[in-house]
Structure formats: C-alpha cells, structure tokens
C-alpha cells in the first residue's frame, strides 16, 4: 500500500494535509483529512471582558473577521440580556451583507473560479486570479477589485475600520452614520447590484455554457446526500445576520428549526484521534461515521446548504437566480428537492452574492438607519449568551459564560468550517475514489480535482498568522505503507 500526502493544500486558510492510502493495485484504501488547527482560543477568551471579544475575535480568523465580530457581538448582547435598538440591528445587518458581497466575490473569482475559468487541468501557475483575468479580461479584473473595495468601504463607514470592524458593543453600536454616509452606501449598493448581474453573466458564459463543467458539477464524484443547515428569517428566506437555525434532511424534509440559544439540544461533536478539529453532527440522528444518508447525523453548513434549507431569497434578482439554480440542477424551482452536488456550492455562492448586493442597496435606503439611537446601555447581566450568524463558509456559533462582572469564564465556538469537517472528509474520499483507479497516473490535474472537492467548501482552518511561511509548494509524498519508506516525492 502507498500513502499519498497532499500538503499543504493550496489556496486554503491554514494548512491541511490529505492522506490517501493507495493499494498496490492503485485503488484507494482509505482517506484521512488532517488539520493542524490553531487551538486554545476558548482558553484565550477566559478572564477577558466579554465586550472585548468582538474585537479580539477579528484577529483569530484571517478570512471572516466580520463574521466573528458579529457572532461575538450578538453573544455579548445576550450575556447582558439587552435588545439592541432597531437602527443598530439594521446597520449591523447592512454592514454584514456588504461584507458578504466582498467575501463571496473573492472566493468566486480568486479561489474557486480558477478551477472553472482556467480549467482543472491548467498548470498550477495559471490557476489563480491572474489566470482568470487573462481569460475574462482586464476590465473584469477591475470590476472585481472595485467590488471588493466597495464592501470594505461600507465596513469602514459602519464598522469604524476597513477590514476589522470595531463598533459593535453589547447593546448596539458605538456610533451611527450620517446622511452623507447613507448616500454613499446607496451609491455603493447600486454599483454592487450591477456587479452581481455581471457575475451572473460570467457564471453563465464561462461555467454553465461549458457542458464538461456542468457534467463535472453533477457527477457522482462530487455528490453527498447529507443533512443541511442554515439560518432562515421569519419568512423562511436565507439570512446571514440573524434568524432561526433550520436543518433539513437529505430528502428535503424539515428535521428541526431552533433558536440559536438551544443549539446544544441539536448539535454534538465527534472526535477522531488523528485530528484536533472535531466533527459536529446532529444529536437526534447520531454519529454513524463518515457516511451520508437519512440515518447519518453528518450535515453541511455552506451556501449550498443555506439554499437547501430555505424557502427562497428575500430579494427579486436573487430569487430568480435561486429558481434557475434549482430548475437546472433538480428540475424543481421551489428548492424542495435539495441539491447535493458539492461543486454546485460555487453557483449557490453566486446566488447569495446577488442577494447580498441587493440587500445592501435595499437596507441602505431605510431611513431608520439614520437614527442616533444605536445603543441600549445594559443595566443588568444574564451571564450566558449565544450568538449565531452565517459566516460565508457556514453557521458560526459563539457561546460565552461570564461572571457577574462580564468576565468570560467559559467560551465555546463552532466555526463555519468545523461544521463541514465530516462532509469535507467524505468529499475528498469520494473524489479520490472516482479519480484514482488501478493503473491510472496521479497527475497534477487529478490532485487538483481532489482539491476542488475541498475548495468548494471555502474552508478556513487556521488563523490569521501572516508570517512568511516560505515557499508553499504542493508536496506529494508517496510512502510504502509496509516499510514506511518514502518511495517518491513530487513537488509542484
């Protein structure tokens, strides 16, 4: 038996390893997905004022600082038992939608896009944003950069800083916005909606018009029948900032819908000896291993799953795209028949991008966001609180317990990617099984297709260490499993 190690996986936050155990006949015997995850954040929180966490947590994840800021802020609101003023809630949600518009843009064009726009078999050196721009043109590149800047500008106006917001406090926000700032956000929202339409066109022209890519999306290699999780608003529509958590079964039926504070009644965590990262699963279904189906508690929390649990989108263009997405992939415009194709997550992300842009424009036009009443100063303390938002890469839970002075005594976090730990492992294994056959050569393109199964989840595992890590090659190490000797090292 040979062991193939893909380390580190390219274009993912933090470093992960994929171990593929290949039999002498070339077939895949097993797959382990291992993450040297940064540990100890829960401990790090202890002894700190709970209101500090909305600012510290932005340093924990280099990918979703805004998501951590929001989840921490909501948990701190709950710790102090305070309902924030309507203007504060609307401003937070507006900022969050603008963040989504930028983040989903980055993923579609810079991370996931290269696989489709440049092709899975293109040389690694071309599978990046520069390769995408070489295909779609400089003007498209300028649009992408401008869109990213728009999201940052809205965060700067409402959140006080461009990348890492600082304005959320227990009870609301430390400041409101001016009429001039509102006008600027409205203009940004209008430009975002135009960009969303452009992105739908790129998706149509580059991905959906290419039958080979559509076949790849729909192939069994990238399909898993798991449960799905996501926040929904009171109309059952997709929402990112606040709502109830809805879970649906692989057949599309509703499994549960609950308030964030009750999450522990529904979610438990499985531990494997080879990974620090836990494997969340649905408590009432149970952990049955890395398998899919109605009897397995494995669930996904991603753009794909958010669309699957919802009854639709709250804005018109996004709703039209939602219907087209389901009609194309399942033949059912309502979404009642869930999509289980991992690679369709990229398309689901575009549907969400359209929604985030429309919602930014819509919410910017609400005159209530100009209210100076953005903070209800807490007068008491509950001592425990849960905050859940949808991070771009999955349901994000912050749960804090404090003493009577608001000093954190216990913290529990389930981050977006952690939800997907089990399905990611399953997706990699399935992709490898479909691609690695007896006698087949493990080419760069094959390895990339395995990684594609992984990248669709837009994962982040480590944190925002910015240290120069040295050259980061994709290393493939082939071991003889019997003797442990390295028989081949391939680098790209």
């Amino acid at each position: 038996m040979k062991s193939i190690v893909i380390d580190p996986i390219t274009r993912l936050e933090g470093h992960g390893k994929i171990h593929l155990f290949v039999n002498d006949d070339g077939g895949l015997a097993n797959c382990y997905f291992q993450i040297p995850e940064l540990r100890g954040f829960e401990k790090f929180c202890q002894g700190r004022p709970v209101e500090e966490l909305a600012r510290i947590t932005t340093r924990i994840c280099g990918v979703c600082p805004d998501a951590h800021h929001m989840a921490a802020a909501k948990a701190a609101d709950a710790v102090y038992g305070v309902t924030i003023p309507p203007a504060a809630r609307k401003l937070r949600e507006l900022m969050y939608n603008a963040f989504y518009a930028g983040d989903h843009t980055t993923h579609f064009y810079a991370l996931g896009g290269p696989d489709f726009v440049c092709g899975p078999d293109a040389p690694k050196a071309e599978r990046n944003i520069l390769g995408v721009i070489a295909k779609v043109g400089i003007d498209a590149g300028k649009k992408v950069i401008a869109q990213r800047a728009r999201g940052q500008r809205v965060i700067e106006i409402i959140g006080g800083k461009k990348v890492h917001p600082v304005t959320s406090l227990p009870g609301g926000l430390s400041k409101g916005i001016t009429k001039e700032e509102q006008q600027e956000i409205i203009k940004i929202g209008q430009e975002m909606v135009e960009f969303a339409k452009f992105t739908v066109q790129v998706l149509n022209d580059v991905v959906l018009a290419n039958k080979a890519y559509v076949d790849l999306i729909l192939s069994d290699t990238y399909t898993h029948q798991t449960y799905n999780m996501g926040l929904v608003d009171s109309n059952g529509h997709v929402t990112f900032y606040d709502g109830e958590v809805r879970v649906t079964a692989p057949d599309g039926s509703k499994h549960a819908q609950y308030e964030p504070k009750n999450y522990l009644d529904y979610v438990a965590e499985h531990v494997e000896p080879y990974s620090y990262l836990k494997y969340p699963f649905l408590k009432k279904v149970g952990w049955k291993g890395f398998v899919d189906g109605m009897d397995s508690g494995v669930y996904k929390a991603s753009p794909l799953s958010r669309l699957n649990v919802s009854d639709g989108m709250a804005t018109p263009l996004a709703q039209a795209e939602y219907e087209r997405y389901y009609e194309t992939l399942t033949g059912d415009r309502s979404g009642k028949k869930p999509v289980h194709s991992t690679l369709a997550t990229h398309w689901a992300r575009v549907v969400e991008l359209v929604f985030a842009c429309e919602a930014t424009l819509q919410q910017a036009q609400d005159e209530e966001i100009l209210s100076p009443n953005v903070l209800n100063v807490p007068t008491g303390i509950v001592g425990e609180g849960v905050g859940i938002v949808e991070a771009p890469r999955g349901t994000l839970t912050h749960h804090y317990k404090t003493d009577q002075n608001g000093i954190v005594t216990e913290a529990n976090l389930i981050v977006g990617t952690t939800n997907n730990n089990a399905p990611i492992t399953m997706s990699i294994k399935r992709a490898a099984e479909g691609l690695i056959k007896k006698g087949s050569k493990i080419t760069d393109g094959v390895l990339n297709r395995i990684e594609m199964a992984f990248r669709a989840y837009d994962p982040c595992f480590g944190c925002a260490t910015h240290s120069l890590p040295g050259e980061m090659p994709l290393e493939v190490i082939v071991h003889d499993a019997t003797t442990g000797e390295i028989v081949e090292v391939a680098r790209r």
Partner: protein, 160 residues
C-alpha cells in the same frame, strides 16, 4: 505619490507573529519621525495590500518569517522577489504579495518599484499569546536600528 511606507504586518495575538505590530508601536515615537516616511500596521494580507501599496514609490515590509533554516530571532533583510520566501506574505485564502503586485500593475495601479522586506525568524507563530518569545523579543532593537537606517536613507534619496 504618497509617502514612503514602512508596512508592519502581523497578528497581535499569535506570539511571534506580533513582531510587526510591536515594531509599529515602537516606531510611533518622535525619535523615528522622518519626512516622507509613513509607518503603518496592518493585520491584513492579499487583496487588502493592494490599497496600501498603491501610489507608494518605496516600501519596507516588516514581518515575521519561518524558514526553519536559521535560529529564531535572526533578522532577514532582502529585496522583494529575490528570495523564495517572499512568495508568502499572505493568508493562503487570499492572494500572495507578488500576485497582488502583478494584479495591481495589470489593473493600471501605480505599484511600488522598490520593496524591501525585514523579517524576523519566528520560534512560535501558532500559540495564542500577546507575548513575543524571548529570542524574537531580543531582535527588536537590532530591527529598529535597521529600519532607522532604511528610513534615513530613503527619506533623503529617491533611489538607493
């Protein structure tokens, strides 16, 4: 053009990864003020660097590095692009610095012609802590002297 930039990168809560922010804090002192030089701390990478680098003629990036080839606390000084480690400077979710520079130029942005990197070899950049390790902390003074020389040279000359 904007002033020459000393860009300190890093994460304040990840042990030695805080080298950049610590240096930025110490440079925020009258002894280190030079005409035409701006010091900035940014806990960012990738696309975000585009905005910071645009319209800068010269930049000194102050960061941490992990080559594993020298003892922790060793200072590396090199022009961007001449050493393989300069391919980093990124959260891998984002794009790296050379890609950001090339992207910026392709988009018609005015990107720096001259980027130097001063990076300290780390002992630990994964433990959540607001303290540098001892060997890396000992590199602060030599780093400040090196930065001072760079600022003095570049604030009076247009080309080195």
């Amino acid at each position: 053009m904007k002033p020459i930039l000393v860009l300190c990168l890093g994460n304040e809560v990840l042990s030695d990864d805080a080298f950049g922010p610590v240096i930025a804090r110490l440079l925020d002192h009258s002894a280190y003020q030079h005409d035409r030089v701006e010091v900035m701390f940014a806990p960012v990478a990738g696309f975000h660097l585009l905005d910071l680098l645009e319209q800068r003629e010269k930049v000194l990036v102050v960061d941490s590095i992990q080559t594993g080839k020298v003892r922790p606390g060793t200072l590396h000084f090199f022009p961007m692009g001449q050493l393989a480690p300069s391919k980093g400077l990124t959260t891998s979710h984002q794009i790296n610095l050379p890609t950001a520079l090339e992207l910026g130029r392709k988009m018609g942005y005015q990107m720096p012609d001259h980027i130097d990197v001063l990076a300290v070899e780390v002992a630990d950049n994964t433990t959540l802590s607001e303290e540098l390790t001892g060997t890396v902390a000992a590199a602060i003074d030599p780093a400040l002297k090196s930065i001072e020389r760079w600022m003095a040279a570049h604030s009076t000359e247009t080309a080195i």
